[in-house]
């Protein structure tokens, strides 16, 4: 009879440990058979579209999703190919990506970081998504970008405007086509000074979270550099709905400009309240009181109605642009859905094409190969003129639009007019600029 140390409990324990080890999700480590996370092995490749399908930004999420579906159609050779015809890179052939038909799965971010991470994780782990894209909030973008970095997949950010996304929170696996708060300030300030004068006194109301802080910081710096004085900066809670008690104190100051660093419902309500309290009719020192909304969105402009008329702001793209790329995209989107696309739809469509193009040029879906193809990539024909995906921070550099609420709109979509296209040089900054300091891209992670 052999003497053994085996016991029933020991066997069970060992079995449980071994079982848990085998069952561990392979999300954070590439399996031994695959060279990288979710390497496509069949005839298809899966992309993950993570957009707000519920919550306050659901309408923007819906428009993003429409654009993604359009991009997938075009990549698979269906439809009129849209901006693939005008894109300066000719690597895309309309036969999917690297010959694999493009399929997609969707997730609902709910505009909540934890929900967005959970849906992205599910798409990577369960659906085998090789790339995640989307979002209509900087908080969500930063959270999902971090997850994708850990998981070893590429993250192509959607609508995120905070400096932090490609600043202190930038990641090697993350890329942003959308412009940022610094660029808004750099584009807007000269127009504000030219139209309203260089000796204005500004009062800021700012949404109290990462995007609002960087937006306020950027506009304050840009306007003060041109001679404006900042009278006060007041943080408003993100959950605020009635801004009257934040707006009335402005009447007691000598400020002659109100800057609303608000987005979404906050912007709609604060602007509506400001107009109700007569700020647009107010005269200070013989000059008209002015209101500025640094980040404009057509979908938000609809909510603000006629209050938006004459108000200056900035935007990443607008459907009224007449360049070949914009015209092709508006035609594709408008024909399919019956209305023009928003800037959120534009940036997500572009991101999908840019990702697919990078895969084709790299000859792989390996995120490190894709990242290398995107870094320093210069392109044109996607609606923003010549654009650079800067290698230092994975931020796109392109012209920025300064827009104004249209005085006499001809339709429910015709709400903004482009008053100036600010050249890219004017909005370019050093990678080590203090507003973007504190983070590092790190190493690309293939899983």
């Amino acid at each position: 009879m052999s003497n053994s140390n085996l016991t029933r409990r020991g066997v069970l324990k060992s079995g449980a440990v071994a079982g848990a080890g085998v069952a561990l999700p392979t999300i954070f480590t590439a399996s031994s058979a695959a060279a990288y996370t979710n390497e496509p092995t069949g005839g298809t490749v899966t992309l993950g579209f993570n957009v707000p399908q519920s919550g306050p930004y659901a309408d923007e999420g819906a428009d993003e999703l429409r654009a993604y579906q359009l991009a997938v159609e075009h990549l698979n050779g269906e439809g009129d190919a849209g901006m693939m015809n005008t894109f300066s890179s000719k690597a895309l052939k309309g036969n999917g990506i690297l010959g694999k038909k493009v399929e997609f799965v969707t997730g609902d971010t709910q505009t909540k970081s934890d929900a967005a991470r959970a849906s992205a994780k599910s798409m990577i782990e369960k659906d085998g998504a090789v790339m995640i894209t989307g979002g209509s909030s900087s908080g969500v973008a930063v959270a999902v970008q971090g997850l994708c970095q850990e998981a070893g997949v590429i993250f192509m950010a959607g609508l995120t405007h905070s400096n932090d996304t490609t600043g202190k929170d930038k990641k090697a696996n993350g890329f942003r086509h959308f412009f940022n708060a610094y660029m808004s300030g750099a584009a807007l300030a000269p127009v504000l000074a030219a139209r309203y004068g260089a000796d204005r006194k500004a009062y800021h109301l700012t949404a109290d979270y990462t995007w609002g802080w960087t937006q306020e910081e950027s506009i304050v710096a840009a306007t003060e550099a041109l001679g404006w004085e900042t009278v006060n900066t007041v943080k408003t809670p993100l959950a605020a709905t009635d801004f009257s008690s934040y707006i009335t104190p402005i009447l007691q100051t000598d400020a002659d400009v109100l800057v609303l660093n608000h987005y979404g419902g906050n912007m709609v309500n604060s602007l509506t309240n400001a107009v109700q309290f007569g700020l647009r009719e107010k005269q200070v020192n013989g000059r008209n009181f002015e209101i500025v909304v640094p980040l404009f969105s057509r979908l938000m402009a609809r909510g603000a109605g006629e209050n938006i008329k004459g108000i200056l702001g900035s935007t990443n793209w607008h459907w009224s642009l007449t360049d070949a790329g914009s015209a092709a995209f508006v035609k594709s989107f408008g024909t399919k859905y019956g209305f023009p696309p928003s800037q959120a739809a534009h940036t997500t469509y572009c991101q999908t094409l840019l990702y697919a193009d990078a895969c084709e040029r790299a000859g792989t879906f390996n995120p490190c190969g894709v990242a290398e193809a995107l870094e320093g990539f210069e392109f044109d024909g996607l609606g923003n003129g010549k654009t650079l995906y800067r290698a230092d921070d994975h931020q796109c550099f392109k012209d920025v639009l300064v827009v104004k609420g249209k005085d006499n709109p001809t339709s429910e979509f015709d709400l903004l007019e482009v008053v100036e296209i600010t050249p890219v040089d004017q909005v370019t900054y050093d990678p080590n600029h203090p507003m973007f300091a504190g983070g590092a891209l790190g190493e690309c992670n293939a899983g």
Binding site: S245, L251, G334, T335
Partner: protein
Amino acid sequence: MDAILLQILNGLDKGSAYALIALGLTLIFGTLGVVNFAHGALFMIGAFCAVTLQRLLSLSFETVDPTKTDFLGNPAKIKTPYIESWLGPETGAAIIDWSVPLAILFSIPIMLFVGYVMERGLIKHFYKRPHADQILVTFGLAIVLQELVKHYYGANPIPTGAPDAFKGSFDFGVVLGFDPNLIIYPYWRMVYFAFAAVIIGAVFAFLQFTTFGMVVRAGMADRETVGLLGINIDKRFTIMFGIAAAVAGLAGVMYAPINSPNYHMGMDFLVLSFVVVVVGGMGSLPGAVLAGFMLGILESFASMNWIKDILPGIDQIIIYLVAIIILLARPRGLMGRKGVMED
């Protein structure tokens, strides 16, 4: 001084909304003993009654204008509201412009019906269940209602303007001897405050001076005895539920021009309104109104910059802080009655 006056005015319209919602909540709690977490959703449905009427009045037919093009370069389709075609451009446009006040009439039968269906279809099954069950089921109902509204109207706020006659603001400063443009108050907010005062007065008069109201008050005080007298108190309480729903709906209709309606506006008001009810005293109608205005004004004052400089974040917690202090000093709230929720 001018800043203080301005914040008092600000607090009045905010307080009006709190008071109207809290009044409805208290009516339901006082009569049926139900803690109705779907009451904010009724406020939201009221606001969307205004949106709906505006859309109905703006229903249009399309004609092609070959001289203009749409965003795709096709001949533009020009929309003309049917009402302008039928009644003439000026009359039609004026009716559309007055859609929010007209929505008061439009919303009353809708809200009474919604209230009736809500009470008969769901809430009556929870009368004898614990308050926790009532809160859960009505909160669930509120989420269902707001998701339905989001599905049909979208997630973005929908601009619903006041009539042109009430756009702009009144300069109280000039009247009171201050410099111009120091104490400005929008006309529509003044209308809202006056409207709230009329509705609150009407509810109190209805309860105080009508036989129906007298029976309801008797039922609130002693339901069992009123029932033993052969009066069908349940039926009257169901009607009161409908009236409470209508009050919340009317508060929502008139609020639409102040902040563009969106699907979660009810939730924004719900929690604060419950605090108002508790501070006022559970089941006390005058308490709900008093606490509504008091907390609205206090919230306004707490948003003043110099106060926030001394106490950062006070604007976010002032209502809850005051609620704690009042409940410590007066556990039944400002005007609460003995025996309510004390078993």
